[in-house]
């Protein structure tokens, strides 16, 4: 009997190591044609005998594309085991879960994407979605910060996001190395270099918890309204379906009502950031 907690099987189609810690996966479900997700949603990845972990979907929704993509950092049991898997192996998937980004809200707007570290993974699903329909949006900026050049994700792909110069991508690292020619410094140092139209700009931030506070401060200094700031939160999750209680902050279940939140809402919630 199938329940909320029964995973479907998915086959691993591609495995591409990104950095020493992170690996990219392309997966295809065995029972359904497509996952049918929205940008910003996540799945519960299940390794039988080890456990489950919530992982963001990193690909844009494309109705005809049977596969979806994940990018995983090894930090513990499930993620370590996942990184041992090879093409052809089967893993369990439940989802998609979460609210995802409300794309309608971004139509015709300038979008400022700000990603810290592994935050680029969920953000990529939205970036790709937007780029797929580039003409429907205004100015687009992607700011991406990492600890070191070794930690950069989707390196090969970042260039293509510039869409022949219609998108501006800026990358910074906290600590450069001998080959690094680009910017050095925390991500907030990039913000002053972006033109922000307070009426048109929507900022979307995904990164580690500490990043939010500093980035928001910077954006507020640029007079961006709270309602125009979006973010995706991380919390401990066990079920993904709003039952286990782990991700709850105040009355909100991050797995159900999030992980994407508008800052104007989030601000009212103690314990959120």
């Amino acid at each position: 009997m199938k329940t909320l907690y029964t995973p479907e099987l998915a086959v691993i189609k591609k495995v591409i190591p990104q950095t020493p810690l992170e690996t990219f996966f392309e997966l295809e479900l065995t029972e359904r044609k497509t996952l049918g997700h929205k940008p910003g949603q996540f799945v519960e990845v299940s390794i039988f005998g080890i456990g489950e972990a919530p992982i963001s979907i990193s690909s844009a929704p494309e109705p005809d594309k049977p596969t979806f993509e994940l990018c995983v950092r090894k930090v513990g049991n499930v993620t370590n085991a996942l990184l041992e898997k090879k093409v052809g192996d089967k893993i369990g998937i439940r989802g998609p879960f979460g609210n995802g980004f409300d794309i309608a809200r971004f139509k015709g707007k300038d979008i400022l994407f700000i990603a810290g570290g592994i935050g680029l993974v969920p953000l990529r699903s939205l970036i790709l979605e937007v780029l797929n329909r580039r003409p429907e949006y205004g100015k687009i900026n992607v700011l991406y910060g990492c600890k070191t050049p070794r930690d950069l994700l989707f390196k090969g792909e970042l260039k293509s996001w510039e869409c022949g110069g219609t998108v501006e991508c800026m990358i910074t690292v906290d600590l450069g190395d001998e080959n690094w020619q680009g910017d050095v410094g925390v991500i907030t140092t990039l913000i002053p270099r972006v033109e922000i139209d307070e009426k048109k700009t929507q900022a979307v931030i995904v990164g580690p918890p500490v990043m939010y506070r500093f980035v928001i401060k910077e954006l507020k200094a640029r007079r961006l309204a709270d309602a125009n700031i979006w973010m995706s939160l991380e919390r401990k999750m066990k079920c993904g379906v709003g039952k286990c209680g782990h991700c709850q902050m105040n009355e909100i279940y991050v797995c159900q009502d999030g992980p994407v939140f508008n800052y104007a809402e989030l601000k009212k919630i103690p314990e959120s950031i």
Binding site: R235, K236, G245
Partner: protein
């Protein structure tokens, strides 16, 4: 609602008969407390005081429950679902616990339906019993709306002397009581006299709630930074006792257990408690509620604020279990509300 009246001996006969064909669970003596356990004779039932150590939620949402089982053979994994449901009659459930079950019915059915709970719930017949005096010095049910069962039962018994008055809220309850010899339509007057007296006793014995019941969510919201959280929180063990014994706590943890042969395993869920250290800690080491005081606030808010707001009633039903269980006496939702109310900052 249909009303009956049934002589005590007749009810005993009824239970005796039910035991023969059903699993009948009721509070029985457990050292100086009671515990819900399968009956082998109606004489075992302890009507009234003292309260059971853990609430009846264990029969709807057991301490540990396998969510799936799987087996590996030649690199293929076979998933098998598990769902064991047993018909059960729960006898002698206090009003606070009836309310809690009613509340659990709502939360488990919200949005995504967790079929494990409703399956067990459907197979359960709930027979409540009215409390005529508080079952423990810790009880605060009258104050928090737990004393009136609000129709959340199949059958509800009230001791009116030589007989029980029995209210049936469902056809299941009607069928059950009509199985008793000489169940008659009831005398409602007597019942309301008993209830009136009951309320007076409870009002005299239970600790007062200083703020108005309806104002609790507002009071909580306004006092996120009240010193009471820190003062009480520093004496918190993070032992989760209050979570485990609460009829309206339902958080869980999920773990996989693999057989040492590595060919089969299960994924099961186990009760978890938001007061424990690692409840909100993620793999990177970040703990979103590191402070015991924040965890205490979260727990209290769930009872008196979030769920109260969402469903229009306190999710502390006032059973008093956590107040007893907490060894450092910090957790009582009523005491916390009173302290906040009388020490506005």
């Amino acid at each position: 609602m249909k009303n009956y009246i049934v002589k005590k001996e007749r009810l005993n006969d009824l239970i005796e008969n039910l035991i023969k064909t059903n699993e009948v669970i009721a509070p029985v003596a457990h050292e100086n407390f009671t515990a819900f356990a399968p009956l082998s004779s109606p004489d075992q039932i302890v009507w009234g005081a003292p309260q059971t150590v853990i609430p009846p939620k264990q029969f709807l949402y057991p301490q540990s429950e396998d969510l799936l089982a799987y087996e590996f053979s030649n690199d293929e994994v076979k998933i098998t679902g598990l769902n064991t449901v047993k018909e059960r009659i729960l006898f002698g459930v206090h009003p606070c616990d009836l309310n809690a079950i009613g509340q659990m019915d709502r939360v488990w059915a919200e949005k995504n339906i967790d079929s494990n709970y409703p399956a067990k719930r459907k197979a359960m017949t709930l027979v409540g019993v009215d409390c005529l005096t508080p079952c423990s010095p810790e009880a605060i049910c009258l104050r928090l709306g737990g004393l009136d069962p609000k129709g959340r039962f199949d059958l509800f018994l009230t001791d009116i002397g030589n007989s029980f008055s029995a209210e049936a809220a469902t056809p299941k309850g009607e069928a059950l009581i009509e199985g008793a010899v000489a169940a008659k339509a009831a005398d409602k007057k007597k019942l309301s006299a008993v209830r009136k007296k009951r309320n007076l006793i409870f009002d005299k014995k239970e600790k007062k709630l200083l703020p108005k019941y309806q104002d609790l969510p507002k009071l909580m919201k306004a006092n996120v930074d009240h010193p009471v959280w820190e003062e009480h929180g520093k004496l918190c063990y993070g032992c989760g006792s209050c979570n485990m014994v609460c009829p309206t706590c339902y958080c869980f943890d999920v773990q996989d257990y693999m057989h040492v042969s590595l060919v089969k395993g299960v994924r099961s869920r186990v009760w978890d408690g938001c007061m424990t250290e690692e409840f909100a800690k993620v793999a990177s080491g970040e703990n979103f509620r590191e402070d015991r005081s924040h965890r205490l606030r979260h727990r209290t808010y769930r009872k008196l604020n979030y769920l109260f707001d969402k469903w229009g009633e306190s999710f502390c039903t006032g059973c008093g279990r956590c107040i007893k269980a907490c060894l450092t006496k910090i957790v009582s939702p009523l005491e916390i509300a009173n302290e906040i109310y009388s020490r506005k900052i």
